[in-house]
């Protein structure tokens, strides 16, 4: 049988950077999976990412999340013009630690609004760090052809990686 998980591209940060983009995403798969290992230079233990599909500023995003910080659990709803990928590691976290996240977007070429699943974890061998499960929705019906991940309060540090997979 055919193998159906394909790496489209990996972007590794070599110089401090504010944004990365996957462009010209092939329209040859059914689903997309984005995996990141990220640390920013903000002084806090945590930071976030502005996540955009296709053209930044087009459409609206809805987010529902459950968050744990090691002592309590909370939930949020956000409706904004970008999708806030919260929380990745900041430079206030333990040295050499990176936050990890996964975004799964099924049916990315479909004609419906785009629903996606997000899991994010960060760890710092201390308090003040988070883990989330998130539900995302982009209210646009266009096929996804690009993704931009702009850094939040800080800039991406070297050795941060972003990998986009296509699934058939």
């Amino acid at each position: 049988m055919a193998l159906n998980l394909f790496k489209i591209e990996t972007i590794e940060i070599t110089n401090i950077t504010s944004s990365i983009t996957f462009s010209n995403i092939p329209q040859a798969y059914t689903d997309l999976k984005l995996v990141g290992s990220v640390r920013s230079n903000v002084g806090n233990p945590y930071d976030f990412i502005y996540f955009y599909l296709n053209t930044p500023g087009v459409g609206a995003y809805t987010q529902r999340l459950i968050r744990g910080d090691g002592s309590s659990v909370s939930t949020q709803t956000n409706s904004v013009s970008y999708y806030p990928l919260q929380m990745i590691n900041g430079n206030g976290a333990t040295s050499n630690t990176f936050g990890s996240f996964e975004v799964y977007i099924p049916n990315y070429r479909g004609s419906g609004e785009k629903s996606f699943s997000v899991d994010i974890v960060s760890e710092t061998n201390s308090s003040g760090i988070y883990m989330d499960i998130q539900s995302g929705l982009w209210n646009q019906t266009a096929a996804i052809t690009a993704m931009t991940l702009a850094s939040g309060s800080g800039l991406y540090l070297p050795y941060s990686t972003f990998t986009l997979y296509g699934i058939l």
Partner: protein
């Protein structure tokens, strides 16, 4: 760039051309180590809850522990001896799209009971479920039913098998 061997293999796929209340994956081969079901659905006539039955078992052999939230409140609960594997947090309102991903690990072994982990995402809820099916039978059929509602046209259902790395 193609991945190395040991990855997702599409076993079955279904894109709906008509409103449907139940999807069945049958005759699932036992040749993989794990199964993954990916569903992207549009709720018809008010989204309700999803139930899953394995191998057609209608006995009270299912239990669940789940956590889900709507942005205002969080619920976690444990329920036992149910006749379906319920997944509450896939609730979606009419006309909205939702995504859920089920992982059925070691599905073909005939020694242990089967556990299923689900991540669900809708415009109403986000959640995670742990379902248990108290059967040692290998999973060969999966029924996914939208209670009180239906999956609308354009909804997609895919079943993947994951092979061990070679």
């Amino acid at each position: 760039m193609a991945a190395k061997t040991g990855t997702y293999t599409l076993i079955a796929s279904n894109t709906l051309a008509a409103i449907t209340t139940e999807i069945t994956f049958s005759s699932i081969p036992a040749t993989y180590t794990d199964l993954v079901v990916v569903v992207n659905y549009k709720a018809n006539n008010g989204g309700k809850y999803l139930t899953m039955r394995l191998n057609g078992d209608t006995g009270t052999n299912y239990s669940r522990t789940e956590i889900f939230a709507d942005g205002t409140s969080i619920t976690s609960q444990n329920l036992t001896n149910e006749s379906y594997a319920y997944i509450n947090s896939v609730y979606a309102s009419t006309g909205t799209w939702a995504t859920f991903i089920l992982n059925l690990n070691d599905y073909s072994n005939t020694t242990t009971f089967k556990s299923i982990v689900t991540r669900s995402n809708s415009s109403t809820y986000v959640g995670m479920n742990a379902n248990l099916w108290r059967s040692t039978a290998a999973i060969n059929t999966i029924f996914l039913t939208a209670l009180g509602s239906g999956y609308d046209v354009g909804s997609t259902f895919k079943l993947y098998g994951i092979e061990a790395a070679k």
